[in-house]
């Protein structure tokens, strides 16, 4: 049986969903019989490959770089999963939204820094005006809320997706779970 290509990535997130993914524990071995992890913070691949079957995207879209990444991922992925509350609702990263980009940067880098007050511009991607969920920019196939989704939930959902079925996630998890 040919293995499916699985990718995972985190954008404007804390990696907590990836930690929960690792909490699948020994069942990762069962998964590895069915999928090949072709791109992830957990493997050393530099470029997002073509023809990926399933991609778990953790985190909101917070920067211009996130936008470029998500568009490339969408082009190269059959099934895109909004993985966790930040990807689904923008969650914690969106707490800056009511204040506006300029005010947040000023508060953080100028007013809170007595030694070297300056807003960084070099080699950093530009912050978007608002941190937003994935589906506000690209089509999302499966929404998996939770902060983070429980390991059991992730395993169940992934197992279904690998079998070619789209699971009903509503009984399994909710916003903030």
């Amino acid at each position: 049986m040919e293995k499916l290509k699985l990718a995972t990535i985190w954008l404007d997130g804390c990696s907590g969903c990836h930690m929960s993914f690792l909490d699948i524990d020994e069942r990762l071995l069962a998964l590895s019989d069915r999928v090949e992890l072709v791109f992830s913070p957990l493997v050393d691949t530099k470029d997002f490959p073509e023809d990926v079957d399933i991609t778990l995207v953790e985190g909101a879209l917070g920067t211009e770089e996130d936008l470029q990444k998500i568009r490339k991922i969408r082009e190269r992925t059959k099934l895109l999963v909004a993985f966790g509350d930040c990807a689904v609702t923008a969650n914690i990263p969106s707490m800056r939204n009511p204040f506006g980009r300029e005010e947040v940067l000023k508060s953080l880098y100028v007013e809170s820094d007595a030694l070297n007050p300056q807003i960084p511009v070099q080699s950093l991607p530009e912050l978007l005006p608002h941190a937003l969920p994935l589906h506000h920019y690209v089509h999302v196939d499966v929404f998996l809320p939770g902060c983070p989704p429980a390991a059991d939930t992730i395993y169940q959902v992934l197992s279904e997706l690998i079998e070619g079925r789209i699971p009903d996630v509503n009984p399994l998890t909710r916003f903030g779970a």
Partner: protein, 240 residues
Amino acid sequence: MMTPGTAVKTFTMDGKPFSATEEETILDVARENGIDIPTLCHLEGILPTGQCRLCMVEIQGSGRLVPACATKPEEGMDIITDNPRLRNYRKMIVELLFSERNHICAVCVSNGHCELQSVAQRLGVNHVRFAYLHPRFMLDGSHPKYEVDHNRCILCGRCVRVCEEIEGAHTRDLRNRGIRTMVITDFDTPWGESPTCTGCGKCVHVCPTGALAEKGKSVAEMAKRRHFLPYLAMRRRGGK
């Protein structure tokens, strides 16, 4: 217990025959008979206002949807409590509630005890299709025991009603209209400076979300206690 001489109305709901007294609403009859209609602003013990519109039902022969909590059945009515059209509107209402304020469940004191959260899960709202408005609200922590976070308020009006009807203080009310509506204390003064608030905490415990909370509660710690309400309402009516 029905008093003798009470008029009874007969009607159908989801194709089954039912009867109701003059005092009963569509929601009352539905709940008595195990028909599950989702609600957010409704709470037993305070007057129904139909503010959240989640309990809308269809009346056959009329294009209008009516709130089950604030509508009494009429003789011969044919009521539908659940169909794709109603489910679609109910989902939209919940999604709009999420998009109009800043509900960050992961850091909310009521995470896991929130009626908005549970109704969203029940209706299958696992993402919000509308653009988030990201409004900017202040917190009011001026009260020694309680705090209010307007980011989490869904304008259900339960706090306003319980303060007026049960506590009798009418400290809270609503200001403005539409999505600019705000729950205010007295004449829009800080809660801690209110000359009318008795500090009873009824508003905190009837609040369906984490908008009203006790101070000192951390994430997911603010479970609400509401068992007092029907009892107090009965005593107010002079019941024993």
